[in-house]
Chain length 333, copies 2
DNA sequence: CAATGGTGGGTAACCGGTTCCAGCGAAGTT
DNA sequence: AACTTCGCTGGAACCGGTTACCCACCATTG
C-alpha cells in the first residue's frame, strides 16, 4: 500500500537502484537496454522520486523563496506584484524547482520568514520589494544563500552573494518629467510611492534632482501605490497649490485616483492638468482618459531574476541587470 | 564549514543522537540532566534539524498546500483571498508547518499544481475556491491526501477524505433579500459572482428560490467579484429594467462598482436605489454611501480550515463546518 | 538478599534517494 | 595470447534524522 520506491523500480526493471538513479538523472553511461527497462517500470507504476530523500542525498532543496516585505493586504491589491510573480513563475517553468512565497509585514511574520529560510528550506531568494528598515533583509546577511533583489540595493548589510535585477527608476522618472515639460508644464507635482520602499525613494530623489533649485517640497506627497492614496494625495496638493499644471504619479493606480480627484474638482485632463502614471499596467490604457505612463518590463524582470538566481545557485557569477523604461503617451498628457 | 548535525550536538552534549532526537521531540522519558545538556549545545551552535532528513524518517512533510483555482491576476485583486489566507496563516501560527500557495488558472498551471501535489510535497490541502470544472480538483481524487474545501462541495468526484469549511451562502443571500424587502424593495436585481465558482451558483440559486414565481432572468447579471464588473453589470440591468429599486451584489467590490454606475446615472442611493454588498470587507464601510452588506467570518473560516485539516492529518475525523452570516445595515439601504 | 519493575539512554536499523568505487566483459592494441 | 582501455553496472557508504529494541541501573518489595 505504500509508495513505490526506487527499490521497487530496480527489482521490476531487473537492475540495481544505482542504475535506476542514473537513468533518472540522465547519466550518460547507461545502456539503452537498462534505460528502456527502467522507464517502462516507471511508467507502469507511476513512480515518483521522494523529494526529501533526494534533497537529503544531494544537499539541494530544489526550491526558491519569494520574499515580499509588505503585509499581505497590500500584496494582494498590487497588480505589479502579481505580474512580477507571473514573471518569476515563467522563469521557473522549465525547471523542476518549486516556489515558496513568503510575506513579511508584521514582526511575527518577518521573524517566521527569516526562521523559515534559516531552517534550510530553500536554495536561493528573490526579494520583490526591498525596504529600508527591512526586517527580512536585516535577518539575512548571516545566511549564506544567494539573494536577488528586484529593486534598488538598500543601504543596509546584505548577504555576501547578492544581485540586483530591476528597472531604471531614475531614468523613468526623468522620461516622465521631460515629457510633461515638453507638453508645457511649469509646476509639476509628484505623488510618490510607499516611502519605506527603496525604489520609491530613488524615484523621489530623481524628481528632486530634475527640478533642481525649483524643487518645492509642498508639491510632493507620498502615497502607497493604491488608487485611494492617489486620490487623497492630489487633493492635498491642490489645496496647497491650486495652480499645479501637471502631476506625475509613481504608479498607474495612484494616477487613476488622481484622475478621480481632478474630475471631482472640475479639472479637465489634459487641458487643465496633465496626469502621468508609472508601470503601464493594463488599467492605464482603460482609464478615462487613457493614461500616459512609463512602461517597465515587469514580467521580464521577474524572469531575469530567476535566471540570475539559478546561475548564482549553479556557482556562476551573473551580473546585475537594470532594464530601461519606455515612455507611453496616451490622452492624459 | 558544513551545517551542524545531530551528531555534533550529541558529541557536544555527551549523549547519543537518539537522546538528542528525543529531546527535540519532547519525549517524556529523558532526564533533566541530558535535556539541559542538549539544549545548551543547541543554543551554543544554533543547530536546526534538517527538514528533509526529518521528513524522510517520519514520512511527514510538515507542509500543507493552499489551492486557488483562479489565475493569479484575479487572486491578486481579491481582498477576500487575502483575508482567507491571513486566517490560514493565523491557524498555522502555532504549528511549525509551512504553507505553499499553489495557483491554477491556465492548463499548464493546473497541471503543474497537481503534479506538485502528487510528487508528495505536502500532507494536506486547502482549496480556497472550488470551481465546477476545476482541473485541480479533478486531478485530485486518486491522491490520498485530506482536502478541506473553503466553499460548497462541487458536484464532481473528490478525494475520499474531504471536508467543507465555509459560510452559509444561501442563508446570507436570504438575509440580504429579506432586508431589502423590508426596506420596501419590489424589483430586486442581483449581480452574481464568477459563474465558474460553486459558491456563486449557490448564491444565485438562493436568489432565484427566494423570488420564486416572480424570478426574472433579466434582473440577474453575472460578474467577476471586481468593481469594474459591478459597474458594467448594473448598467446592463438598468438598460433592461430602469425601474429596478434594489440591487444585491455578491461582493462588496461589485457593490462599489454599482454605486459608481448609480452615481453616473443620477440615481440617489438609497432613495432611488437600494444597494447591498456581500463580505463586509473593510472597503464597505468606507464607500460613499457606506454599504449595507452581509458579513462573513472569512478569517475564521481560514483558521477553522486549518484546524480541520490538521485534525484530519492526525487521523481524527473532524466534521464539516458552516458559519452563519450576519446582516450589517449601513446607509446604502 | 533476591526478585521485580520502571526509567533512561545507547545501539542499530531504517527512511529513499545519490554517488563513489571496484569489477566485469567486450573490444582494441601490441 | 596477454594486456589495456573503456563502457556499464552492482554494491556499499552516506545524507541526517527517528524509533524499536534491549540492557543497565536503581529503587521497591517480599
Amino acid at each position: 500500500m505504500s509508495r513505490t520506491t526506487i527499490n521497487d523500480i530496480a527489482a521490476l526493471a531487473g537492475v540495481s537502484k544505482g542504475t535506476v538513479s542514473r537513468v533518472l538523472n540522465g547519466h550518460p553511461r547507461v545502456s539503452e537496454r537498462s534505460r528502456e527497462a527502467v522507464w517502462r517500470a516507471i511508467e507502469q507504476t507511476g513512480y515518483r522520486a521522494n523529494v526529501h530523500a533526494r534533497s537529503l542525498a544531494t544537499g539541494r532543496n530544489n526550491a526558491i523563496a519569494l520574499l515580499i516585505a509588505a503585509a499581505s493586504d497590500q500584496l494582494f491589491s498590487d497588480p505589479t506584484f502579481a505580474e512580477l510573480i507571473e514573471g518569476v513563475r515563467d522563469g521557473l517553468l522549465e525547471t523542476d524547482l518549486s516556489l515558496v512565497i513568503l510575506m513579511g509585514g508584521s514582526e511575527t511574520e518577518d521573524h517566521r520568514t527569516v526562521s523559515y529560510i534559516k531552517a534550510g528550506h530553500v536554495d536561493g531568494l528573490i526579494h520583490l520589494n526591498p525596504f529600508f528598515d527591512d526586517a527580512i533583509t536585516a535577518g539575512l546577511p548571516d545566511c549564506a544563500l544567494p539573494l536577488v533583489l528586484c529593486g534598488p540595493r538598500p543601504p543596509i548589510p546584505l548577504p555576501r552573494q547578492n544581485w540586483v535585477v530591476t528597472l531604471d527608476d531614475a531614468g523613468g522618472v526623468r522620461q516622465a518629467l521631460d515629457h510633461l515639460a515638453s507638453r508645457g508644464a511649469h509646476k509639476i507635482a509628484m505623488i510618490g510611492g510607499d516611502p519605506r520602499g527603496v525604489s520609491a525613494t530613488v524615484r523621489f530623489q530623481a524628481y528632486r534632482d530634475w527640478l533642481g533649485a525649483s524643487f518645492d517640497p509642498d508639491l510632493f506627497e507620498p502615497g502607497d501605490y493604491g488608487a485611494g492614496s492617489g486620490q487623497v494625495a492630489l487633493a492635498r496638493i491642490l489645496d496647497r497649490h491650486p495652480r499645479v499644471d501637471a502631476v506625475f504619479c509613481a504608479s498607474d493606480r495612484m494616477a487613476i485616483g488622481a484622475l478621480e480627484t481632478a474630475y471631482r474638482r472640475g479639472l479637465h485632463v489634459p487641458e487643465d492638468l496633465l496626469v502621468m502614471g508609472f508601470d503601464d499596467h493594463r488599467i492605464a490604457a482603460l482609464a478615462d482618459p487613457p493614461l500616459s505612463t512609463i512602461r517597465q518590463p515587469i514580467r521580464e524582470i521577474g524572469r531575469t531574476a530567476v535566471q540570475t538566481l539559478l546561475a548564482a545557485i549553479a556557482g556562476e557569477t551573473p551580473s546585475d541587470k537594470v532594464f530601461p523604461t519606455h515612455l507611453v503617451v496616451r490622452d492624459s498628457t
